[in-house]
Symmetry: C2
Subunit: 332 residues, 2 copies
């Protein structure tokens, strides 16, 4: 049997209400009483039961975090941002992997709501009407991190993917006439945005989009290697490749190198994300800097405001990105 607030009350010769007050820092307690209570707490080794508190107060000070895969270097970085800010605001985090599987996602949303989380941070692929339905039903706020809701209905934090992809492609096009694009799995809106940016740059440089130059990967290192091999098989090889994630870009680079094709001399490669990987390879990777930690942090911060019912001017936050040129592309 654990010691309860009632035991403390008796030990200190006060009521439960008073103990509750000192535990919660309510100022309406005479210093002498406060001291008495603190001593009793100390003596008994009392530790408030957050579950009981949650039931009574209807606040659990925990938020749910749904993430595709915590072992991905990209999402892990996001998660760290989320957790740091959560800690800062005294929340704990219930973390679950969804593998971007819609059924799992819906299921997780529900178990987390069942656990009475005060809010939800969601990361995933596409937000469907079904997701929105669940979110509306939630009775607690939801924030999307690095995840797009086309309807704009769910608060979110992202960068401008299209713009970023445009800039990267444009830069490549400034010294490579023929540039390919290795995308993530089709059909998610972030992918579509990036592809749009690529196409826009191509168009501006007077190029049509050659389907041979469009390879669909799955963000993994291995799919990057495969993409490189496919590109190498083309009768007319690209001289530049824009890749939708750093890890996949790494695969592309090695795919080339393993076939004796030099990067950047023979072909330039441009990544996306700027994960720690980018400087941990040779050549170091030119890439789009996506502030993952910040996206996580800002989304959590946004959520705290929402949970607090504070006014939020902009619920669909776009964080700045930038381009960083390293050694996988040719300098001007």
């Amino acid at each position: 049997m654990n010691v309860t607030i009632y035991d403390v009350a008796r030990e200190a010769n006060v009521s439960m209400a008073t103990v509750s007050r000192v535990v919660n820092g309510n100022p309406n307690v005479k210093p002498a009483t406060r001291k008495k209570v603190h001593e009793a707490i100390e003596r008994l080794g009392y530790r408030p039961n957050a579950v009981a508190r949650g039931l009574a107060s209807k606040k659990t000070t925990t938020v749910g975090v749904i993430i595709p895969d915590i072992s991905s270097i990209f999402f892990a970085e996001l998660a760290r941002g989320i957790e740091d800010i959560a800690t800062m605001y005294n929340y704990n985090i219930i973390l679950s992997n969804s593998d971007q599987n819609k059924e799992k996602e819906i299921h997780l949303i529900n178990t987390m709501l069942g656990k009475q989380v005060d809010g939800l941070v969601f990361m995933g692929g596409d937000i469907t009407e079904e997701h929105r339905q669940e979110f509306r039903n939630a009775s607690v706020p939801v924030a999307l991190a690095a995840t797009l809701d086309e309807s704009g209905e769910t608060p979110s934090v992202n960068i401008d993917y299209e713009d970023a992809a445009y800039e990267a492609t444009d830069l490549l096009l400034s010294h490579s006439k023929r540039v390919a694009y290795v995308s993530g799995p089709d059909n998610t809106s972030i992918n579509t945005k990036k592809l749009d940016g690529y196409k826009k740059a191509m168009k501006e440089h007077g190029q049509g989009v050659d389907d041979q130059l469009l390879i669909v990967g799955d963000y993994s290192y291995d799919s990057g290697k495969e993409a490189a091999e496919q590109l190498l098989d083309l009768e007319e090889r690209p001289s530049g490749v824009f890749v939708a994630s750093d890890e996949m870009a790494l695969g592309v680079i090695h795919g080339f190198q393993d076939s004796g094709v030099r990067v950047p001399e023979d072909v330039e490669v441009f990544g996306f994300d700027n994960t720690r990987l980018a400087t941990m390879i040779r050549p170091t990777l030119s890439t789009v800097v996506q502030p993952m930690y910040d996206i996580g942090a800002v989304s959590m911060r946004l959520l705290t405001k929402l949970m607090n019912k504070e006014e939020v001017e902009e619920t669909n936050v776009i964080l700045p990105h930038r381009i960083i040129e390293r050694n996988s592309t040719n300098a001007e």
Copy 2:
């Protein structure tokens, strides 16, 4: 106001107890009643309140996970193993980063216990007497993952670090006469074990331990680069380097390469962990395979048994490791 078990009971014309029974899958319910209740639940959109359930049953079906840094590729992999098995056994996870800071660790243990977790998975550096004190006080089981408790008192899952380090060094010594060791931050017991393994191999090969050959890093890529530079400054350079983590090994390799020293021709490098990084670099990294996912998974499985009060034959589990030779070392 959310719909409660009481509302469902009234809607279905049964008692709360019956509703509770069907929600919890208790077989003692007539199928017809069960159906009636399910319909009422559906109609009302009832979702059981896990907090209330937790208070009444004294089980929250959530476990706490304390991890040094979720954004580290090594720990993220462990975390995935933990979460997968937790999900399998219907537990959720409260995840917090400790940065291996003892104060934070102790604090986290306490807030998690306050939240009435059913158990705790702990990852960290050293387990001190203070940690043990907290664990004993916990009233719920604790399992260590990739973390040593010298006293053997806390259930844990690890590999044999000394043995692994011995094998790696021994292999290096079979074609390099002079091998250096780049360790993690001093003074944690895992580090000590690895160092012991290194020393043992050196001794067996008739070599004393040359302090110049012992570099202390912090597991990071950058500290690996620095270590390489230090090693290069030696009047008598090593021909092989054993490094305590893959990420740091990567740094060592690049430190060498950036100075025009070839790996493995001029110097061999051996890593530890076999994170995904190991095959994502050139040359690919020879390393000790530490089954991180499994360590996480097994520790969580162990914890479920402990929470279930099942008999556990061995509470200090040692998982097998192995050596994998890739291209950062010379073949026989």
